[in-house]
């Protein structure tokens, strides 16, 4: 019941963000806003598929790849947003590779844990996408200076991406625990925070994506 309510909240938030993004994309002729609209749209459709399937077929966790490819597409659109903000490499090469190794290690360990509960292929695809997303956000956060307002806005987008990634991993980890475990309650908290993190992109993108 609570999960369905949270799912509906997430859908409403994603739908609202999608409408806002499309409006801003058309008003400012911004491809970044259009990409964010696609991100929110992919989240919305994935949630809707999941809810409809659960409702009509009476399953808590549908055994299908369709919502997962939608959510993976959402991550792909976030990645494309980050690629629009190029930054010059200012850090040492060793630091760059160390950062890459840290992210790769984290997503690989988490992927191996999730593989105990889900299928291998979709977990592997998600790990590759999330790893690339986290690393790109992290490296841009290091590279983009804090000098002017424009750069600070770009940094805010990277922070929003990292927040989204953190909440996603926390949510997935909490979902691995049994329903009667007290840790499982944190799943509902993170499910709500995911809706918040999707909405956080609207202020984070702000004027950085207006043109």
């Amino acid at each position: 019941m609570l999960e369905n309510a949270l799912n509906i909240i997430q859908m409403i938030v994603a739908c609202g963000c999608m409408i806002t993004a499309v409006y801003k994309a058309v008003t400012y002729r911004s491809r970044t806003w259009m990409l964010y609209g696609m991100f929110a749209g992919a989240c919305f459709l994935g949630d809707l598929w999941w809810m409809l399937y659960s409702f009509f077929y009476g399953l808590d966790a549908p055994d299908s790849f369709i919502p997962y490819i939608s959510w993976d597409a959402a991550v792909l659109f976030l990645l494309l947003i980050l690629f629009r903000f190029d930054a010059e490499a200012t850090e040492d090469t060793s630091k760059k590779y160390l950062s890459m190794a840290e992210v790769a290690f984290f997503v690989l360990v988490m992927c191996l844990i999730y593989m105990q509960y889900g299928d291998y292929v979709s977990n592997l695809i998600t790990a590759v996408l999330m790893g690339t997303l986290i690393w790109n956000a992290r490296i841009r956060l290091i590279r983009i200076p804090k000098d002017d307002a424009e750069d600070r806005r770009k940094r805010n987008i990277c922070k929003a991406v990292l927040l989204y990634s953190f909440v996603e991993y926390a949510l997935w980890t909490a979902s691995c625990f049994d329903y009667d475990s007290p840790i499982r309650y944190s799943y509902y908290v993170f499910d709500f925070l995911l809706a918040v993190s999707i909405a956080m992109f609207v202020p984070a993108l702000g004027k950085a994506a207006d043109r």
């Binding site: 058309v26 696609m38 992919a42 459709l45 598929w49 409809l52 399937y53 369709i66 597409a73 792909l76």
Partner: protein
């Protein structure tokens, strides 16, 4: 028994004659309509084959396997056309729609031979619903493929993302129309409303995004 190969021959014959007798743009319209029908036929074979391997029945396969197979099959002829003939952007958008129209037409005719044609009101809703759904999915991929990305690798990544979104949209439609009563009606209505929105505002949006 539903002899889809026989139906295909019957529908394809006039198109093949049209291809032989007409020139340029008219010929291309017939070619892409025929492509749409052909990929629909092939999609049904592939979906049935995968469902048999996965041990799924027809209703499970229609909400799980068929959307992904059909969406991938629909874009394959257009990918081939882009790679071989390097056409203008404006042309490609129209040809994607022609493939979708051919696909929806063949699917509707097969459905009619299986379910009868007594109820004209239901057929009217079903005809428009299926046609609209395939066109919405085609338009989604076309918009991303043609207007949102300049670099080839960004376009490829974005198109894969949009393909996933189109698959989920198709999956939601299939879940709803496989039900009875109001749910099926809502299922047919969603793509029709989306198409209406696309007709009213789509041109403005794509013109603004192009400039």
């Amino acid at each position: 028994m539903n002899y889809i190969e026989n139906i295909y021959v019957c529908l394809a014959a006039p198109l093949i004659i049209a291809i032989l007798c007409t020139r340029r743009a008219r010929k291309q319209v017939s070619v892409f309509l025929l492509c749409g029908m052909t990929v629909c036929l092939l999609s049904s074979y592939i979906s049935t084959f995968i469902a048999a391997i996965a041990g799924q029945d027809i209703s499970e396969a229609s909400v799980d396997i068929a959307p992904a197979v059909e969406e991938i099959m629909k874009v394959l002829p257009i990918f081939f056309y882009i790679l071989i003939f390097d056409p203008k952007k404006e042309e490609v958008s129209g040809w994607i729609q022609m493939i979708a129209v051919g696909f929806a037409t063949f699917e509707n005719v097969c459905w009619l031979t299986q379910n009868g044609a007594e109820n004209v009101w239901f057929i009217l809703i079903r005809g428009f619903g299926t046609g609209a759904m395939h066109i919405v999915c085609g338009a989604l991929i076309a918009t991303g493929l043609l207007y949102l990305w300049d670099q080839v690798w960004l376009r490829t990544a974005g198109t894969i993302g949009l393909l996933a979104v189109a698959t989920t949209f198709h999956g939601i439609y299939n879940i709803l129309v496989s039900q009875t009563g109001a749910a099926a009606f809502v299922g047919y209505l969603i793509p029709m409303l989306t198409t209406a929105f696309y007709i009213i505002s789509g041109k403005t949006i794509s013109d603004k995004m192009k400039s």
